[in-house]
């Protein structure tokens, strides 16, 4: 029988009763969130279960929501069941003051550099990562540039007049 979003919701709800939330289907892709302590359990369940079989990690990225106090940083996993062609999006949220999330590198080798990129951009500390250091930015950088508080351009420049560039 085909793997529908409803069926996935049922399987997830019976395995993790009351712990998952935020079930929605934007543009057809099932999206849900779990508390950050459960991220590996959910990923393992989605991987091992013989009906769900989400064995391909398409993407791992971070998002910063400064208004959500206590859970500002999100880590978003996109998984793909290649045989039945079903995609799923799974989010965990973590506090910006203590952004620890368990690493998924044990399950997906693809997560290695993607978690490094999320650390580099947002400062999410992936617990258990083999080598969590900056990957795209210089090693000496001491802030996490994709967070919303950092403006796109360097505000300390005095040689450019923003008024002239249409953004004053």
């Amino acid at each position: 029988m085909t793997l529908t979003n409803e069926h996935i919701i049922n399987r997830l709800s019976e395995k993790f009763p009351e712990q998952l939330s935020g079930f929605e289907e934007p543009y057809g892709m099932l999206t849900f969130q779990a508390p950050k302590e459960l991220n590996l359990k959910v990923l393992n369940f989605l991987y091992d279960d013989e009906e769900l079989k989400f064995r391909f990690m398409t993407d791992l990225c971070g998002v910063h929501y400064p208004e959500r106090k206590g859970e500002e940083l999100a880590v978003v996993y996109h998984l793909h069941n290649l045989e039945d062609n079903v995609r799923i999006r799974f989010k965990v949220f973590t506090d910006i003051n203590q952004p620890d999330v368990y690493t998924a590198t044990g399950l997906f080798s693809a997560a290695n550099w993607m978690e490094r990129e999320t650390y580099d951009f947002y400062g999410v500390n992936f617990v258990g990562h083999p080598k969590l250091k900056r990957i795209l930015n210089v090693d000496e950088m001491d802030y996490f540039p994709m967070r919303k508080e950092f403006p796109l351009e360097d505000q300390s420049r005095i040689d450019k007049d923003d008024e002239m560039f249409g953004r004053g």
């Binding site: 934007p26 543009y27 892709m29 999206t31 064995r55 391909f56 990690m57 398409t58 993407d59 990225c61 998002v63 910063h64 978003v76 996109h78 290649l82 062609n85 995609r87 999006r89 997906f108 080798s109 693809a110 290695n112 550099w113 993607m114 990129e117 951009f121 900056r134 990957i135 795209l136 930015n137 210089v138 540039p145 994709m146 796109l152």
Partner: protein, 407 residues
Amino acid sequence: MSEQHIKLPEGSIEKTTTTLNLGPTHPATHGVMQNILELDGERIVSTEQTIGYIHRAFEKIAERRPLYQITTLTDRLNYCSSPINNMGWHLTCEKLLGVKTPKRVDYLRVIIMELSRISDHLICNSIVGVDAGAYTGFLYVMQYRELIYEIYEEVCGARLTTNMGRIGGFERNFNDIAFQKIEKFLAEYPKVLKEFENLFQRNRIFMDRTKNTGAISAERALNYGFTGPNLRAAGVDYDVRIQSPYSSYEDFQFNVPVGTTGDNYDRWLVRGKEMWESLSIIEQAYQKVQDFKGTEADVFHADVPEYYLPEKADVYTKMEALIYHFKIVMGETEIPAGEVYQSVEGGNGELGFYLISDGGRTPYRLHFRRPCFIYYQAFEELTKGAMLSDAIMTMSSLNLIAGEMDA
């Protein structure tokens, strides 16, 4: 020369490994990426990759640009096949905005995307030849890469970083010169591709250089998140055009070549065969485009005045066109809030765009799922225990494009 080999007693010489920096500027690294190799003689013990030399903060820039200005950023991801990146971005926007493109637009997009796939694979395969020492193939097919760039130039004005198309279609209809060039390409290229294949495919030296080097099994490749020709060479027939068809790919008949061992030779063969398949798709698409007659042949964009700039003549004479023009340029159009993930089959695999919009003028978050970034992680596993020269061949056959790796 002396034939004697010095046989030293065990433990009499301290053996250390050499650290070699296959640095960011090196003729064999295509684009800027660094590999720090630990060598035991000629054999590689371990490698460490450093990337980020061409990181241009696209994801941060994209948070401050309206949707139509992000196309120029996407050009510069995989710059060998920038139309595919552009079309992928337009498809993402169209999915978010709920825009449905007419069939003619889809077929024109398919022609352009397959031409850029041919260009990308041609660059990769000929560079694999160059890294093995054979320059002729690379220079010989350059003429047909030029022809493809001339086709892009007719359509959008640029050769490499094309910024091609708009949300809903193209900025102008393909003119007669563009169609003539496409016909010329379809007529002349097959012979050239055949000759290019004859140079390498059953060449003893090339086969010895590429066979059984850089091999990866299908399970490891899937675990590493490989997609595209690298995954297909390992034996998994995952192609985004077939699994989740976009831009009317379901209307075309084509095969997906799949390898067995995932080594460099298989990757070269898969890319070569994909070029033949792309050629066949372009022929089918061209035929379908020619079948549109009369006013249908003038359709080159969807009818979405909220997102597609109206004709300048109308802007100066009609009220609605003026209002739409103002709203689009000043960023007053309604972008629905939501999150969307759209992927296309790029030259290197599944190029994905994860766009979160909060209803404002610019995206809240845009993340590019870049295939090169993801599969370069596997380089250490691919080259462990291999010779240095095999590492060079593996690096070029993986088709690592620094622009896509770093974004």
